[in-house]
Symmetry: C2
Subunit: 553 residues, 2 copies
């Protein structure tokens, strides 16, 4: 059974290659090598051992950190080889004993983060000139194969033994939920009946059949494996548009202050329990305008507002998800000078082809997607002094609802710009403005053409905010909204928000977070998986066999 | 708590307007009127009363029957008004006490059927020249509003009181899962923040705001309501392409024989437990060829093979879902003369514009979709004497896996034709062949151009079947496949199949069955809904308030 009392909070979500326990990150010119070497006894909790390169959230936080560093600190890298330092094993996937002993919310949040990290690999491939090779020097099973599926190419060693497999259904009674089922049929386009067979054969598939069935791109004899991986890395690197002769920027720790009342970063603040089960999340705009050009941005490095504020927001969101389960509503607030935010946006747009500008923008995009995918209610409050402009206006557009004060004495503003015109798409491929205006797509251009800020009346008329209470109603209206929200079933709200936020087209990403994740979460509740005689609970217990309620649902 | 011991099996899924308890079906020229008048004490089970036009599966089986009869028996109908005979109430949605006292599998299957019925309304609108008006003469809440959302137009009476609402989240801790959330943002394109507010305000929205927010199409004063509905019905009817001067065909009872070993229809047979937790579902091809023309088809009526066989299959699938929960695997088999099936398909293609031909084909399409959406493993066995040709070949293409005997002494065949070329799309909008060939779309035309039947070797090479065991291996291979399948977690299989079957594009339909349904099923397992202190459990108990585990997941 899930252990609801286990401590699952994480002290810090930040790490650095010097402190990695489970990965080795090395560089050879334009090729980076990310080698997995999980330390069995160094899991986040003491109640499981990470055998066979299986992973927990700690392992995955290092992977996510490494990917960020390759993007920002190593612009010379054009191809990344993901492999293992263990003999005959690439990766056995998420650690089953960790899953079995985790609470339901932790399992769900863990899977979400690992999904986001793997989508980050595909984002880097699609937008950053980085190509990824999964060099499977041994068996890749479950989440191990799912990690490979996120790469551009999969090379499997042909040693008579090593296979790829998704043994979750036959062995554990759960799904390959880290994108596995979706990527098999939708990305690699494995025929559905073959995918069915593959997903039920615990020992997996190897050799020629793995290639014929599109499960891997090549199987390579052991003696030629290293060379083949190098050759493919070089071939993929040759097609990259990453810059020549540029130096990266370092990503230092964020230096946040954590206390019982919340968390303070330089630009982001989390103020806990300003109302029951509510956090106020405030993002401050920049104190200074943008640099003159890309070189100036490189010189500013990780201190540049457009990067630092979003690294902080990213960290804050992870904290909220994992460490503050009782928080149901995030009130999104902003402060600062809208003109400066818009100037930063304009700078990023103008220099979009500069390598670091590109990284900063795609980072903003990914952080905003993380916000969209956070299973907490998002309310934006637009009050005097707020700075919902450009990229920060995306916070208001990401909100489930937005409240904007309409008080002639204390004016409020919301202002759009280039950042709202498509550079920061949601998982569904549309901008937040397009998603919002699904019924009247022609209004998108009208709204973007609006000169200057929208006041409350204009914002309401344009459909940019939900409600515009006046000064007499404001306090009561937001108090009631927050209290009512806190009174509803947290589960029903999660399900509702997951359905309402992603209107319009579906993509690989929305399929993973909508369809696949929802089914996995269902299964993660079912006695057949997590009950006393469930398959996940009993895994690895010699002589114990799962007992199933056979009713098909 | 869910009552797992309650008897939820249904004696018959067929009904007739003469026996309706809850609906009145009347006709006035080209307008049919479906009036809801639910009898409180005539629910399927005695442990709840159907107050306020709330419904259970029995009510919805009548609705589904009425829709079929309008399509087949009443070709003169061009518009359908769905309304209520109760004063000031249109429909209060699915009965909460029924939901609260149903087992989890029953809840899930009930919701699936109601979803299919509402999608059937949209199918009739898109393809059959039937337009639907929801004439809300009173409040439509929850599933009541969801029924309205499936119609082409929603007219709401303006009596100062009547509203539309989705109170599931605030009152019950579950989702508006019968397409509600999806249709609000994806069909009616209600802005997502308004949808958020609407879905949390239990009393709903009425009057001008309901129109402004796109929740209804018109609000009409009480005095003008009847006339306004009639006017809209006539206006919509005027655009219909339904035939003039044609007479419908009667849909008599199927006359199945039900026994402990299974069910026998004329063309369809269910043989239970041929192997543990397995049913053999056999569809027989036609004994005779098709008629000469549409008039001949009308003369054959409900005895026509292309209609009768699929009505039987539809009924058999409902039986399997609701009455045979322990059955995990459906073995799809066929018998008969492939040439005759192909002749029927050719006939339907040639006369596609005839009204009854059109109905027969769309019916086949809907039944095959019901098969795709059945939460049981589908294996197709292609053996000597089988008749997997044309429309019956769709059964093999719908299967999670297909096994075709390769024995030179006892040849087997699989043959495609016009029915496989797009007339019978899946919920994802693609044909089953297109879905299967997602990796090689160019192969679709090649395969369709193949002259004559595919033998086992050819079918394997073309990618039409999964495995082709020879005569020595056949028995063992299928025995092992069936036994292994029966040994896996039924829940994991359901989740896996729901993800692998619908590769490719997503539609409103797949969003409802994938994303929305999966989240609803998750919530239907959560203690916050169905636990002793859950919101669904406690609904209607005076003085009792749900207690929530507040952890956001």
């Amino acid at each position: 059974m899930a252990h609801d009392n286990v401590v699952e909070a994480i002290a810090s979500f930040q790490t650095h290659p010097d402190r990695y326990r489970h990965w080795r990150l090395s560089f050879e010119g334009e090729v980076a090598r990310l080698s997995m070497d999980v330390q069995e006894e160094q899991g986040l909790r003491p109640d499981y051992t990470l055998k066979l390169n299986s992973y927990d959230l700690g392992v995955d936080l290092e992977l996510a950190d490494a990917l960020q560093r390759i993007r920002f600190e190593h612009p010379e890298v054009r191809a990344v080889v993901i492999t293992s330092l263990k003999d005959r094993i690439f990766c056995a996937g998420a650690n089953i004993f960790m899953l079995g002993s985790s609470s339901h919310p932790f399992k769900v949040n863990f899977c979400k983060f690992t999904n986001e990290t793997r989508l980050g690999i595909e984002d880097a491939s699609a937008h950053s000139g980085l190509k990824f090779i999964a060099a499977l020097n041994g068996t890749a099973s479950g989440g191990g194969y799912e990690l490979a599926l996120a790469c551009d190419e999969i090379l499997l060693i042909d040693d008579g033994n090593s296979a790829v497999s998704l043994p979750e259904v036959p062995l554990l009674g759960v799904l390959p939920g880290t994108g596995g089922l979706t990527r098999v049929v939708d990305k690699r386009k494995v025929r559905r009946d073959r995918a069915d067979f593959f997903s039920t054969v615990a020992e997996g598939i190897k050799g020629k059949r793995a290639v014929e069935w599109r499960l891997v791109d090549q199987v390579v004899a052991k003696s030629r494996f290293t060379q083949a991986v190098t050759d493919r890395a070089k071939a993929l690197a040759a097609k990259s548009d990453r810059p020549a002769g540029e130096r990266g920027i370092a990503l230092p720790p964020l230096g946040e202050e954590v206390g019982p009342a919340g968390v303070k970063y330089r630009y982001v603040t989390l103020a806990l329990n300003t109302s029951p089960r509510v956090v106020d999340l405030t993002v401050k705009g920049p104190a200074e305008g943008p640099p003159a050009d890309g070189a100036g941005l490189v010189a500013a490095g990780a201190d540049a507002w457009a990067l630092r504020a979003f690294r902080e927001l990213d960290d804050a969101l992870l904290r909220l998800r994992i460490n503050h389960l009782d928080i149901g509503t995030v009130v999104l607030r902003t402060e600062g000078d809208p003109a400066k935010v818009l100037a930063w946006d304009d700078f990023l747009e103008k220099h979009a082809s500069h390598w670091l500008v590109r990284e900063v923008r795609h980072h903003q995009k990914r952080v905003l997607k993380r916000l969209d995918l956070t299973a907490k209610t998002l309310f934006a409050f637009v009050e005097p002094g707020a700075c919902f402009a450009g990229v920060l206006a995306e916070l208001a557009l990401a909100a489930d609802r937005s409240y904007m004060l309409a008080d002639p004495q204390r004016p409020t503003a919301l202002q759009l710009g280039v950042a709202n015109a498509g550079a920061l798409p949601m998982s569904n491929g549309l901008s937040r403005l397009e998603t919002r205006m699904l019924a009247e797509p022609q209004k998108v251009d009208e709204i973007l053409a609006h000169a200057g800020p929208f006041d409350a009346e204009e914002a309401l008329a344009a459909g940019l905010v939900t409600f515009t209470p006046d000064e007499l109603d404001w306090d009561d209206e937001i108090r009631v909204a927050l209290e009512e929200r806190a009174s509803y079933s947290p589960d029903a709200l999660t399900g509702m928000e997951a359905n309402l936020r992603f209107a319009g087209p579906e993509t690989l990403e929305t399929k993973i977070f909508g369809r696949l994740t929802a089914w996995q979460n269902w299964i993660f509740q079912r006695p057949n998986a997590v009950g006393e005689r469930g398959a996940l609970t009993l895994y690895g217990q010699a002589g114990q066999r799962a007992q199933f309620d056979v009713r098909r649902t």
